[in-house]
Symmetry: C2
Subunit: 161 residues, 2 copies
């Protein structure tokens, strides 16, 4: 089974949440998504005035797959990766920026939102969120000792006869 | 066999060439590629000071496939297509903009080139190139009459006995 690279929950989740909230109110973007490189949504926020977001799961998958696909293009031009991708349509913009090596911050906003402001604010948010994600990835994994596995085996034997 | 959507040659080719040349000298970009939606290079230019371009054929293929792949994402956000895509790396930028429905103008430039200038100049070039491409696509196709096909058949019969 494919699992997210990062488990974002509890205190860390709430801190990330606050940073995304702040980014939304500072820039005026519609939707904001933190996605891991495999396409899982780690966290998301919608502006209060922006009803009916698109299917964010699908957007996340497509954004992650697109980021992976453009890696070949980046290498060809001598870049390690494209840290920033901007897709501009008639009515709005999809803005994707790398958060460390593991995640992507995706913003969706209307064409009247100034791109410059979004860029500046996003840089700040990314520095903060990247620090939180780094913390998480450095936390020791939960290890289940021998005791636990023996106890679980005994319990299963008991249950299944 | 896959064939380019557009055949750019002769007078039209030279006019496009001049426009690309002008774009290069006005903006300071390294490489400039006109690619059709299937990934064929229709025309390309390199700045004199920019030696060793990357494999432009491969870049063209990847740019076209990427543009097609992001169409799903555009539709999901209610856009017809993303008319402008910017991929920013550490050292440089890959800038792709639609030229009508059939072609893509791709620019590769270093990070010291101001994006704003590139955008303004590109808009101008695209209007001019799009007009030329439209002219071509509206030209009547060369039709070979009955005479030609009879003549060719006779010639073949003659040749092959």
């Amino acid at each position: 089974m494919i699992e997210p690279t990062l488990a974002l929950y509890g205190d860390a989740y709430e801190r990330v949440d606050r940073h995304l909230e702040e980014l939304l109110s500072n820039t005026g973007v519609r939707y904001c998504l933190l996605v891991d490189r495999k396409g899982f949504v780690l966290s998301h926020k919608e502006a209060i005035w922006a009803p009916r977001p698109p299917a964010l799961d699908s957007v996340a998958t497509l954004v992650a797959s697109n980021a992976a696909a453009t890696a070949a293009l980046a290498n060809m031009l001598g870049e390690r990766t494209f840290s920033e991708q901007i897709h501009q349509g008639e009515n709005g913009t999809l803005y994707v920026e790398s958060v460390g090596d593991e995640a992507l911050l995706t913003l969706i906003f209307d064409s009247n939102v100034p791109l410059g402001r979004v860029k500046v604010q996003t840089k700040k948010t990314i520095a903060e969120v990247a620090a939180i994600l780094k913390e998480i990835s450095e936390m020791p994994a939960v290890e289940l000792g021998d005791d636990f596995s023996q106890g679980a085996s005994a319990l299963l034997d008991d249950l299944l006869g």
